[in-house]
Amino acid sequence: MSDRWNAQAQLEHLQQKYVGAGNADTSKWEWGCSIKRDSYASHIGHHPRLLFMSLVENESIARTKLQFLTKMIQPCGPPDNN
């Protein structure tokens, strides 16, 4: 029975293990960063989308991919100190 009672807590614990998961204290900057990173990862992962974007940008696919990867580092600029 105690497992049942703990299930919620365990679920939360599990969720917190993932970088993108948030909590009540997540700031706009943190959330924005994870949104952007997830987006880039998703663009890279879906080849048709990547193809489309590189076509519009008139870049090679590999370079677009590299750009996305590079942008994942501090995607929303440095953290604000507030």
């Binding site: 049942r4 299930a7 679920l11 969720q15 917190q16 993932y18 952007k36 880039y40 998703s42 076509l55």
Partner: protein
Amino acid sequence: MNTNYHSRHFSSRDDEYSSKKRNRDYSSERSGGRADGRSRTYGDILKEQREENERAEYLRKIKREKNDKIRSSDDNSSRKYSDHDSTTVHSESRRWSEDPEKKDPQLEGAPEPTETSNSVYSSITPKNLQMLRLSKELQERNRHLTDTELDEILPSDGYEIVKPPESYKPQTTTKNNPLLSGVNFYNIPEDLTKPYDVPGDTTGTMPQIKPEDLAYFGMLLKEVDFDSLSYEEQKERRIAELLLKIKNGNPIIRKQALRQITEKARELGPSQLFSQILPLMMSVTLEDHERHLLVKVIDRILYKLDDLVRPYVHKILIIIEPMLTDEDYYARVEAREIISSLSKAAGLPTMIATMRPDIDNVDENVRNTTARAFAVVASALGVPALLPFLKAVCASKKSWIARHTGIKIVQQIAILLGCAILPHLKNLVEIIQVNINDEQPKVRTVTALAVAALAEAAYPYGIEAFDCVLRPLWEGINCHQGRYLAAFLKAMGFIIPLMDAEHAGTCTRKIMTTVIREFDAPEEEMKRIVLKVLKQCVSTEGVTATNVKEMIMNDFFRCFWIRRIALDKKSAKQIVETTVEIANKVGGGEVISRIVDHLKDESEPYRKTVLETIEKIVINLGVADIGSKIEEKLMDGMLFAFQEHTNDDSSGIINGFGTIVNALGSRCKVSIPYICGTIQWRLNNKSPRVRMQAADLVSKIAPVMKTCGEDMLMGRMGVVLFECLGEEYPEVLGSVLGALKDIVNSIGMTKMTPPIKDLLPRLTPILKNRHDKVQENVIELIGRIADRGAEYVSAKEWMRICFDLLDLLKAHKKAVRRATINTFGFIAKAIGPHDVLGTLLNNLKVQERQNRVCTTVAIAIVAEICGPFTVIPALMNEYRVPEINVQNGVLKSFSFMFEYIGEMSKDYVYAITPLLEDALVDRDLVHRQTACAAIKHLSLGVAGLGCEDALTHLLNFVWPNIFETSPHVINSVIDALDGLRIALGVGRIFTYVIQGLFHSARRVRDVYWRVYNLLYLGNQDGLVLVYPRLSEDKASPYNRTELELFL
């Protein structure tokens, strides 16, 4: 191994060898890597160790001269863990037991133990103590009434006190007490039997102190002013309190204390903590579960203390290491866990520095456990980190003992890590390869064993790594004898399966002469290794059937298929495996013909082994190559074995019989009448066990009788079994019902004798039987009849059975409840759902929860089998009953129903929506909870089927419930949201979530983020397209311009 294996105290399981762990000195300092002022340096330790070794060597020499004769007559009983090191163990154990300087270690460990408690408790075992406490209590309860007590009970006038007659002698209890016989040395004092209350405990949360723990928790008995104590004393007392709560408290108290001690671990400090925990761990009176709790404490505080534990690594290891060789599996696992977290906290250098001196310890026990501990360290920190150290140890020039331990570490790593050693295989083999030619025979042996362990772990890869050891192994096999040879053979036996076919063939031929020579070896160990090697060799591709026939078979059957081999379970298992492997190579008929005669042997275990072997061969290879002569012998032998079987556990024999007879199929037509005759006769035997075996056998051979076309005979068996239904032993009755079920299955409903219409009424009263086995079998039989032959019984009879079945819905065994529910389904299908449904809906009104739950499941099953449209109107009508239990039952039925009918639900979504709406706005929590569960299954069932409008509507009702706090409700709400996410897509739910993610109230944010995380984990990719545009800051670019690209 040990007779008192199941003792609650792990200390009482120890034999002489493992009890030596208590003799280790853990009070002296050995700080790894940290040479602060008060601790001894690394050099000091090594020096001491050397001196100790020399002293031991010297003493051993003296002893050897003295005891030469005694030892030669000694058997090697304590060789269990010692890895052929018996001489060391023996001489030492004798020396230790006679050494007057050696003090009882538990006396040293206890902090200021009181005189009485120790002298008393060191001399009795925990088991005795338990018995003494029991007998004391018994005496206390049965004590004589005193005169004053009698005066109070009896009126003063009319009674006279009579003098006892001269001849009367009062019985002295202690002498005749059976519990106390054998413990004649000790009379337990009054105050030692009662647990102590902790004074000054106003809250009542302090558990009582057991007398044997007095030495550790004695300080709590002194009433002191907590504030007057110094800081250190306060801490000490605090720790003692917490430990006492953990050790003796009830679960709630224990959990709190455990949490406190974990949280405050750094504040309380490692020195104080360990100085109290460690002596407690070494206590002889510690029970298994208490040790488990203390291990848990250590594990938790290790995480907290992290690098602060470094100075205590050695102390902890001394206590934990012996648990690595404990008989109890969980003790071993716990020990591994602790050592692994210890090595992560303290780091590799500390671990090596701490354990290094132990690898050439004089005591074999210490070395053995150290090797195991090193293996755990390797698995925790990675094998590569440990390789340089292992290399150095295995090449140690100074002492062969160190080399021995080093190789043992490699062996243990292989055993512990399994196939995970593959990346490091080459390195590990290279490290130990030189030792295979070591000058010390013991080192050579252990090297061979380590190679064997590595090869076993690496199977079927990595033969290249072993190239370098093949030659030395061959040489070893050719020149060694006895147990050295056994080790080398074992190594070769494990390497051969890794080789390619051609090589393996050559090697097997080469090794076989030696193996065959050793067939006759008297030692059990050698026999087992030979069997193992034989099995490995025979199974390789390169060995041909003719090879095996010519070289091995004759000797093998002559030497191993003897009565004695079946007496030992381990050997019996090995012989079965090896023989099956040989049969795989040369064909089943050949092997079976050689052992079939043994089925008539007079030794029961031997017959069982033979039958087990034949069964396995038949499963693997069928019976195509068994000649008619052998077949006859086989049937004959099996019947003999069956009839002569006297042991209680007959499942092996009966299963074997069944498998073989089924494999033979129509070929045993001739024997069937004979078998049936035997069974029929035995069904009337006066011993219940015989009757049960006979009935069990009927279920096994029923399918074969059908194949043989013996319908007449089957019918007769049916009648005989039918007559046995009056059986009084439930076990037997269960088997009889099982046999009837299998006969009905095979013969079919139409041909069954007695006819179904006679059989079923006879079964109805048996439904009232409370025995699990009977219930399960009778319900399955009835279910089978309802499924296939319902028309033979009147609808009225089926209704009657329905009522009886309701009772079975609350059976203890899940299989029974499951079978009952299925039977409801079959009956409903047979007589139409309405009557059954009526019964079930009425049952929703009962008080008992489990009964109601099972009823809801049964309703759902009826819905699944007879179509939801037959049930849903009645259910919806029932929901109008203004009674909580009924309404919840209806909702639960819907929940189960949607789970079972899946996609079919799409036709009923709109019909059911108003009901679910109503449930979701009910005040009762359980209404909402169950409705959520129903919505979860509903949405999962109709996902992608175009019911989004209804589901969105329902989502609007579910959504406010996310703020519920009751665990069941919130779980079910979250589940419903998860289901709706699948059906509606993550975007739709996200539009709800985004409203509250940055709400000003934290409690709102908390909940919304939890739901967000749920979406995020469930469908992160889908969220990318629905994230909002965040407003731009000066510094931070939040826009995702890539999504605005357009061609």
